[in-house]
Symmetry: C2
């Protein structure tokens, strides 16, 4: 029993080592920066051993993406627990999102890489399932807040609109913005001096447009966001803005 567990722990540890080494490699040089020979050399294992853990490069990448999604889940779950109105709790999710990309730009970069058909297609079904579960967890936390808001009478969706469709909009807006942001050096030249502020503003437009009370014109969500940062993400906030 004890020996078996030890062996398994060793395997687990090695897997973690591989991933820990892989992440900076992948960030640094994209798909090509991730080099199986180099991983083997630097960890002083043979290539065959690395391939015992991950049957191809893509499997390492999706494993990294799953780690990322889990870390994000953790942020989201802390945010969703914020005590406040439904829209304040959604604001908390927004804070979590922004803090997450600012604190771990690497994690977001991995998400963009896995978001490519030709890479995604080479991953195993097992890990794809894991990934979808992790993604669903985030989505459900947010749509849960939307449902709470509806139940509480803070917001009413137009006929035939599901909470998920609204969440899809928020998700698209933030994901798209971060994507553009992470590659487009040209945004500043084009007249967007503070992209993160822009994103927040645009999210508020969207929520105001759907009539989620209290509107951002009736309530100071900036102050709320400040409080959320201090109360829930104190340490992380320090790291980014300290």
């Amino acid at each position: 029993m004890e020996t078996l567990t030890r062996k398994q722990r060793e395997l687990k540890q090695r897997e973690a080592d591989i991933l820990a080494l892989s992440r900076p490699m992948l960030i640094e040089g994209g798909y090509h920066g991730l080099n199986m020979d180099r991983i083997a050399a630097e960890l002083e294992y043979s290539k065959g051993t690395i391939y015992k853990h991950f049957s191809c490069k893509e499997e390492i990448i999706i494993a990294l993406a799953i780690e990322t999604q889990e870390k994000r889940s953790e942020f989201f779950s802390r945010a969703a627990a914020f005590q406040g109105s439904s829209r304040e709790r959604l604001t908390a999710i927004g804070v979590a999102c922004e803090l997450f990309v600012r604190l771990f730009p690497d994690h977001f970069a991995v998400e963009q890489i896995i978001n490519s058909r030709s890479i995604w297609e080479k991953t195993s079904l097992d890990r794809r399932k894991l990934m979808q579960v992790a993604e669903g967890k985030c989505m459900h936390m947010v749509s849960g807040i939307v449902r709470d808001g509806i139940a509480h009478g803070d917001v009413a969706l137009p006929d035939g609109t599901t909470p998920e469709e609204l969440v899809f909009g928020l998700w698209s807006l933030t994901f798209g913005a971060y994507s553009i942001l992470s590659t487009g050096e040209s945004l500043a030249n084009l007249g967007v001096k503070d992209p993160f502020a822009s994103i927040r503003t645009n999210v508020h437009h969207m929520l105001n447009g759907i009539g989620w009370r209290p509107l951002s014109t009736e309530h100071d969500y900036n102050a709320v966001a400040q409080r959320i940062s201090e109360e829930i993400f104190a340490a992380e906030f320090q790291l980014v803005f300290g």
Copy 2:
């Protein structure tokens, strides 16, 4: 003169041939599907000749992306010329966008591929400039409509907000949505049955939120979109929905 022009035309033609062959290769197998040896073999030129035109794979990719952006520009410029209120003209841009991705999913796929740091970085400054110019052209057409709307009193931006920041929001929302859409098979399971309709709705929420008159609750923009499809994009509309 005549001979020089003929030679140049031949070069131009060959370049076009390379790109035409490259596009499906790139779409089919992503970055790896694009194979310089195969391009040379299929066009019956030597590899060296291919490399005379494009100094590396990434240069082919960005050239394809520039073609894409120019095609989109063309769609946008037709849309922007629609006769109607400022928000109706913006609706026309939305129609152009949607039609564009539905008609040419390949083009959008190329945009996603070039939107990766490790590929972008290997491209030449010359082509990067071209790309940014083409991107700027689209952006300016849209921000022009926003300015028209402001001048006409249809919409007022909050203090300190530039038209570009609003356009950034619209761009993020649509780009993000199409990105998620193009890789996530899971959207349907998550409760978003008609993603394109969702995108349109979410855009309207955003514009309503900023108070762009007439609001989508006061005016039937679906009917307008229908008219735009028929008047401006008749042929394209036929192809997608016929």
